[in-house]
């Protein structure tokens, strides 16, 4: 596939090994009631006993209902004390057993309708991204994709890698790939994206999928944020002339396919995630298989969740810090441990820099291939300065935007000009903030402006609607009075 310029993969220490550990199964699982921007309403009462896979909460979305299935059997406590978040459901586990729900069926005998229903109930549906809605696809069958793109690549340091999941759940993934065509239109195509096509894992995938003509394998560069659905979508549009603008594309990653496979063949809902625990602060970087609801502290070795380190949920770029109480969610696949800065370095800017890598090839680490950014901490690593228009953000931007120009517009509050200059296209990958030598908070600035823009649009639309209503009421009134006069 053709990718534009931009994107960057920093060399960060603490890459998780291919080994997959099983996290301990705790007695208490916490399921947050907020996921993918949706707030779920509990479907159970306090101290009610639920079975494995039974819906804990529902949310209405896109013409249907999606569920949060219980990751284990147990007694429920509803915790809504937290005013900030939507609250959570705490499950006191009585049994960790996993057993199939419902009857398995073959792909040939499954209908799209049934499959959508099953995926929504199993909590898998929100893992699919649709190019039409920019989020999870509609549940009522109103959209049928011409394409489904299954992404094996995770460039953001460090998210669970497709190859690891393939190695662990190869069968489930192939099964999932067999079910996916049910959701497609006729003669629809499934694209698989891999990094290298001649890698042993890639060759095995090709062998497995060799019989299926509708599966196309594509190679993509490992450059963050290549896994972002909008980047993939743009690249597909640019490289494949058969893929039209009005065509619908669904994108999902390997873990979602694996879950689909599990759900459709064995009837097992989404109940565990493979999580990459890595980063310069991780003492044992590895992959961990964890039941949903397991506290994130259970994934970490002792000493990682302390004052001197910051634990991010998600990768380096998009991860957000979590506290000790946070638990594994239905869509988590990464925990990034970043040390906090300690002490100040003497004449740091003048050192050759074998222990730091940068977007610019201006550190000595460039000379060796093995060097990694061993000094990566939560520090800004520099003073905040005004923009000097160095253009690094433009080089790094994967969407071909001009972040420096947007910054200038937003600096003087010209939000309309920023909108015309492509602000809505920003995907919030954070690379511009990452590379900025002046340490400007570009990502924050852009996402705030996007929110403001959306609010303004909504307000304008609401005002217009109100105006229209008023006018109509006035007309009715007038008609009415005229009628009355007659």
């Amino acid at each position: 596939m053709k990718f534009g310029r931009g994107g960057f993969l920093p060399r960060v220490p603490g890459r998780p090994s291919r080994h997959v550990d099983a996290a301990p199964l705790p007695e208490r699982l916490v399921v947050e009631l907020r996921r993918d921007g949706l707030t779920y309403v509990p479907a159970v009462r306090d101290s009610e006993r639920v079975a494995f896979g039974a819906p804990l909460a529902w949310a209405e979305a896109n013409g249907g209902r999606v569920a949060l299935p219980a990751p284990a059997a147990g007694t429920v406590t509803i915790d809504s004390s937290d005013t900030g978040s939507a609250g959570s459901v705490v499950l006191n586990v009585t049994s960790h057993d996993i057993h199939p729900l419902g009857t398995p069926c073959t792909p040939e005998r499954t209908t799209a309708e049934a499959m959508r229903q099953a995926l929504a109930e199993a909590g898998i549906w929100p893992l699919i991204w649709s190019s039409r809605t920019g989020a999870m696809p509609a549940l009522d069958g109103s959209e049928t994709p011409n394409r489904i793109l299954v992404n094996f690549v995770a460039a953001e340091p460090f998210r669970a890698r497709g190859k690891v999941i393939w190695g662990e759940y190869g069968q489930n993934v192939t099964a999932g790939l067999r079910y996916l065509p049910r959701l497609l239109t006729e003669y629809g195509i499934i694209n698989l994206t891999l990094t290298e096509l001649d890698h042993p894992v890639a060759q095995r995938i090709r062998q497995e999928t060799a019989g299926h003509a509708w599966i196309h394998i594509e190679s993509v560069p490992v450059r963050y944020p290549v896994e972002h659905p909008r980047v993939l979508c743009q690249a597909l549009r640019q490289s494949d002339p058969r893929f039209q603008r009005e065509d619908v594309l669904w994108i999902l990653d390997v873990q979602a396919v694996q879950a689909i496979g599990g759900c459709m063949t064995d009837g097992i809902p989404l109940h565990e995630r493979v999580i990459a625990v890595g980063g310069p602060g991780a003492s044992n970087p590895r992959h961990v298989r964890a039941r949903i609801g397991t506290g994130i502290d259970r994934l970490l070795e002792r000493g990682e969740l302390t004052e001197t380190k910051r634990v991010l949920r998600g990768g380096l770029f998009r991860g957000r810090p979590v506290d000790a109480a946070a638990a594994v969610g239905y869509d988590d696949d990464a925990v990034f441990v970043l040390p906090r800065p300690e002490g100040r370095e003497f004449l740091g800017f003048a050192k050759p820099g074998f222990d730091r890598t940068s977007f610019l090839p201006c550190f000595a680490s460039q000379l060796t291939t093995a060097a990694a950014d061993r000094r990566l901490t939560t520090s800004l690593r520099g003073e905040r300065r005004p923009c000097i228009a160095c253009g690094l953000c433009e080089d790094a931007c994967p969407m071909g935007l001009l972040p420096q120009v947007l910054h200038r517009y937003l600096y003087r509050d010209a939000i309309d000009e920023a909108e015309r200059t492509g602000l809505p296209l920003c995907i919030g990958c954070g690379l511009c903030s990452y590379v900025c030598p002046s340490k400007l908070e570009l990502r924050k600035q852009f996402s705030e402006a996007q929110v403001r823009l959306r609010e303004e649009r909504e307000q304008a639309a609401a005002a217009e609607a109100a105006h229209k209503r008023q006018e109509e009421a006035f007309l009715r009134e007038k008609e009415h009075s005229e009628d009355w006069r007659k």
């Binding site: 003497f346 090839p361 550190f363 002046s438 340490k439």
Partner: protein
């Protein structure tokens, strides 16, 4: 902690809130941040940041300038050091004063301005003129616009322009033939050039009168000219460094050099008497130095990458035209200032094109 750390620690209370030297806080802070890296935690995603910062970015330019500086030292003697000291002292004073008045931090941008400024002056220029020039450059070229990042014009070039227009006679008398041999003589003559140093015309002046300096001398830098710009070899080393480090915009450099050569070839073919041969033109005077170190100043150039091509073309073309068809033998300075003026316009054009593209995608 090393001794400098201890020293800074001991004096810190004086500059802290309530200390006796509180108004001078920016100076202390600049020193503190110079020696010890600034530590501030990221409060927003991404929580890890790239190690590049403005200090590193700017110091790379200084490193790239070092070869030219050393060549200047070799050709024009220890007076070059004195000029550098004067430039830093006088310009730094203005910078610090403004930081104090505005209660802002002292910016790193001046490090480059102060270093580059003496390199674009003739070797025999009186020291007070160095000071006046750099003060004017920093004041009118930068501080008037609000400081680093907001200036329209390259401060060093503004300072030089001021000197050229203000003291044309003094400047045209200050060209000295490099006296690499007798160091002792140059030391003794400080702070002036030795009395018997031969004043000579620059290669471009000579070319106007029909004498062309051999290309090899031009390449090595054994000619009269501004102290930093004579040695093309050293400029090329600096350029190579900047380009591999990706600190200087390759687009600007290529745009200017290619347009300069292309237009030069065409015009030389049309009017060989007026226009010097392109090889001679490229190697003589300060064109390369300007294109590599001054045109690539990101603040005064265009903001967008695509506009940098055209920016380079304007600089290359204007230099050639000024050199060939005007009363000035050298045109880089005016060409770059002209480019600075055009930069926002070029940006606007590029942004318009982008807007059209985005309109299709949104």
């Amino acid at each position: 902690m090393n001794p400098i750390g201890n020293l800074l620690k001991r004096f810190k209370p004086l500059f802290d809130q309530g200390g006796g030297l509180r108004p001078l806080w920016p100076i202390f802070q600049a020193a503190d941040n110079f020696f010890f890296s600034h530590v501030e935690e990221a409060e927003h995603a991404p929580f890890g940041r790239d190690p590049i910062d403005i200090k590193r970015y700017m110091s790379l330019v200084i490193v790239a300038l070092l070869p030219s500086f050393l060549a200047a030292l070799y050709f024009f003697g220890p007076r070059v050091l004195l000029m550098l000291a004067v430039s830093y002292a006088a310009g730094g004073l203005v910078e610090v004063l403004f930081a104090l008045v505005r209660k802002e931090e002292i910016n790193e941008g001046f490090l480059i301005t102060g270093f580059i400024f003496p390199l674009i002056l003739p070797p025999g220029i009186p020291l007070w003129m160095v000071a006046v020039g750099v003060v004017f450059g920093v004041l009118v070229g930068k501080e008037v616009f609000g400081g680093t990042g907001r200036n329209l014009f390259n401060p060093a070039l503004v300072g030089r322009c001021f000197l050229l227009l203000g003291y044309p006679a003094a400047l045209s008398k200050s060209w000295v033939v490099p006296q690499s041999g007798d160091w002792l003589l140059w030391w003794r003559a400080l702070p002036d050039v030795p009395a018997d140093a031969v004043t000579g015309a620059t290669p471009l002046m000579l070319a106007k009168q029909g004498t062309h300096t051999p290309l090899w001398d031009l390449f090595i830098g054994h000619t009269a000219g501004c102290i930093g710009e004579t040695s093309i070899l050293m400029t090329l080393i600096g350029a190579l460094f900047l380009i591999t480090m990706r600190v200087a915009s390759l687009r600007t450099i290529l745009g200017s050099v290619l347009s300069f050569l292309l237009l030069g070839t065409i015009l030389h073919w049309i009017a060989p008497t007026r226009v010097n041969p392109p090889s001679f033109n490229l190697l003589s005077g300060g064109f390369l130095f300007g294109a590599v170190f001054m045109a690539t100043d990101p603040v005064t150039g265009p903001v967008t990458g695509a506009a940098r091509w055209f920016y380079g073309v304007i600089i290359g073309g204007a230099t050639l035209l000024i050199r060939s068809f005007s009363g000035y033998v050298e045109g880089v300075m005016f060409a770059i200032l002209l480019g600075n003026i055009c930069a926002p316009l070029l940006d606007e054009i590029v942004i318009r094109i982008h807007v059209r593209r985005y309109a299709r995608e949104i």
